[in-house]
């Protein structure tokens, strides 16, 4: 990796301000790295011309003393975000050729603040997956490999392209989205930092919808400070998304380095699951010790409905997906496969356009919403969701400031894992520690905390109170200071 791509966003920003190099030079360094690492399949589209044009404009603004908070910083954009005039397909064949005539609010915020777009990042189709293997554009390879083993590993999903690109230094930071763990699980699998903010913190406008009551965007970056810098730009209230919340976006970076003395951190008994590797448990204990050393008080807590979160999620998310994805009918955009009449055109288009995992989830969603089953499944799941949220509310009311858990039940697994291919539920279990957070609408951050015996990164998760992302950055920074940072050999 070059000296320029080694820098964090904070370091690059300072160097650009000091005129040590230009944004064009930084951008060219990333474009060269992207080309050299096409084998990872992290980008599904590189936009070098657009990137250089944006970098030159940034250099002019820097020279004029009009630099924005992300001026000249090259970023990768998950293919779920609408980018005007540029490929936006949620890595699905059904959006074949789609080039939006509008820009998502989040990417618009990033460009407003001076960021440079390098290209569109690979992901699981419609963000449905935990390994980035459901993408129409093929799997992403994790830049990490186990020591002495050449086997290719998955980067996690659905934001697998984002996490792999950040870890391999193919962008300074990336946008991502998280419906059940799609930011935090890939961050944990690649030794990067990822935050899913509180539901409503970021606008969902212009993000291809999967499950609207759970979807939330956030950044993936190489350290905690960069994550704070990116979220500050991404978050906003938006008249075009009525679920975006009108609460001032704090200066998250200011909370980094502040003492955590006296903070109360909860450790939930229910996250100690059967079959969890000892290394994960040891990592968790290390995290507890680091926070105690920093002056936090660590208390045992109970979140009794934890084990019901994932099955409830697999009712709510597919139900919402079956409704959201009804729009792909071959009429207004994307793929059309002809048929003898309009209904057979719909059926042929959707059969060819959607991959197997997306089809499966649409069918589950259609079933649980169908006449006679709505109360038994959907209403039941929404009631369970109330109980899951109540578990967290009770703990926070008792004075707990944040909750510490493992981010994932394992380290990154192999590409084309046979067990997971044979049993969809096995793949779903990847999100066992992250999905509760979406169900309750809370913020959660994954921060790298160590390597396992094979040299693969493992992450811890911190869960916060609604709109208290600042505390998560504060605590995550303590873990980062103690654990150090982790980079693959690329």
């Amino acid at each position: 990796m070059s000296d320029l791509t080694r820098l964090t966003i904070a370091e690059a920003r300072a160097a650009l301000d000091a005129k040590q190099f230009t944004s064009l030079e930084l951008t060219d360094a990333y474009l060269a790295a992207m080309e050299a690492h096409r084998d990872l399949n992290a980008y599904i589209l590189e936009t070098p011309e657009k990137a250089r044009e944006m970098a030159k404009a940034s250099d002019q603004r820097i020279a004029a003393g009009k630099a924005g908070p992300l001026e000249g910083i090259p970023l990768g954009i998950k293919d779920l975000f609408a980018t005007e005039g540029i490929h936006t397909q949620a890595c699905s064949h059904i959006l074949n050729g789609f080039q939006p005539t509008y820009e998502s609010t989040i990417t618009g915020n990033l460009w407003r603040d001076g960021a440079v777009m390098l290209g569109k990042l690979n992901m699981d189709e419609f963000a449905m997956g935990s390994s980035n293997e459901t993408s129409y554009y093929g799997p992403v390879k994790n830049p990490w490999k186990a020591k002495g083993d050449n086997k290719e590993l998955v980067p996690g999903g659905s934001s697998g392209g984002s996490a792999a690109a950040v870890a391999a230094h193919l962008c300074a930071g990336a946008t991502a989205t998280d419906t059940g763990g799609s930011i935090r699980q890939p961050a944990a699998f690649t030794g990067t930092v990822g935050i899913k903010p509180t539901y409503g913190r970021c606008s969902r406008w212009g993000i291809v919808a999967f499950a609207s009551s759970l979807d939330q965007a956030g950044p993936i970056s190489r350290d905690v400070r960069d994550c704070a810098i990116m979220l500050k730009s991404m978050a906003s209230v938006d008249p075009k998304d009525t679920t975006s919340v009108d609460i001032e976006v704090p200066d998250y970076e200011a909370s980094i380095g502040k003492s955590v003395k006296g903070m109360k951190v909860g450790v939930p008994a229910e996250y100690r699951v059967d079959g969890m590797p000892e290394e994960i448990e040891a990592l968790w204990q290390k995290g507890i010790a680091w926070l105690k050393d920093a002056g936090a008080e660590v208390v045992d807590i109970s979140l009794p409905h934890t084990k019901y979160a994932l099955p409830a999620y697999y009712i709510v998310a597919p139900a919402e997906a079956s409704s959201n994805l009804a729009r792909y009918d071959g009429v207004r955009y994307g793929l059309r496969v002809p048929g003898e009449d309009v209904v057979s055109m719909y059926e042929n288009t959707r059969a060819e356009g959607f991959g197997p995992e997306v089809r499966r989830r649409i069918m589950i969603g259609t079933y649980v919403l169908s006449a006679g089953y709505y109360d038994a499944y959907y209403v039941k799941a929404q009631k369970v969701r109330t109980l899951i949220k109540r578990d967290f509310e009770t703990v926070f009311a008792d004075g707990v400031d944040a909750i510490l858990t493992p981010a994932t039940p394992t380290a990154a697994f192999g590409l084309a894992d046979q067990d997971m291919a044979a049993d969809p539920v096995k793949m779903y279990l990847n999100d066992i520690f992250t999905v509760t957070v979406n169900m309750a609408g809370l913020p959660g951050i994954a921060v790298p905390a160590g390597l396992d015996g094979k040299g693969l990164p493992l992450g811890l998760q911190l869960i916060g109170k609604p709109f208290d992302e600042a505390t998560l950055f504060q605590l995550a920074h303590v873990i980062e200071q103690q654990a150090g940072r982790f980079s693959p050999d690329v």
Binding site: F98, Q99, T101, Y199, G200, S213, L214, P239, T242, T243, V245, D246, H305, Y308, P311, Y314, I315, S322, A326, D329, G330, V331, R332, Y333, G334, L335, R336, G339, E340, V342, S344, M345, Y346, E347, R350, A351, R359, R360, I362, M363, I364, T366, Y367, S370, Y377, V379, K380, A381, Q382, K383, V384, R385, T386, L387, K389, D423, P424, A440, G441, P466
Partner: protein
């Protein structure tokens, strides 16, 4: 609850996804595997529990009922697989 092959075909029809005969048994197995697992929720006592309607307690913002956007049909139809004179084209629906 579980699905049989006739139900799998009915769901696919409702979802407007064409499935071939040889896909039906595989889908039946996969859907039942997921539905079996979801049955775990039966253990939870949800008597007197309100179903969640909004994950964040907030008042929905409202705005004046006025046109704030539009007037560019060519942009709306720009990505259509088939369009004519700013209309979406579909196979003939009425004889």
């Amino acid at each position: 609850m579980s699905v049989d092959q006739a139900t799998v075909r009915r769901i696919a029809r409702l979802a407007r996804i064409r499935i071939s005969d040889n896909e039906v048994p595989k889908l039946e197995g996969e859907l039942n595997r997921i539905l079996d697992w979801i049955e775990l929720l039966g253990e939870v006592d949800t008597e007197n529990v309100e179903p969640m309607t909004s994950v964040v307690s907030m008042q929905m913002r409202k705005r004046e009922d006025a046109v704030t956007d539009g007037g560019y049909p060519e942009r709306v139809t720009a990505n259509a697989p088939q369009s004519d004179d700013n209309f979406f084209m579909v196979p003939k629906v009425v004889e």
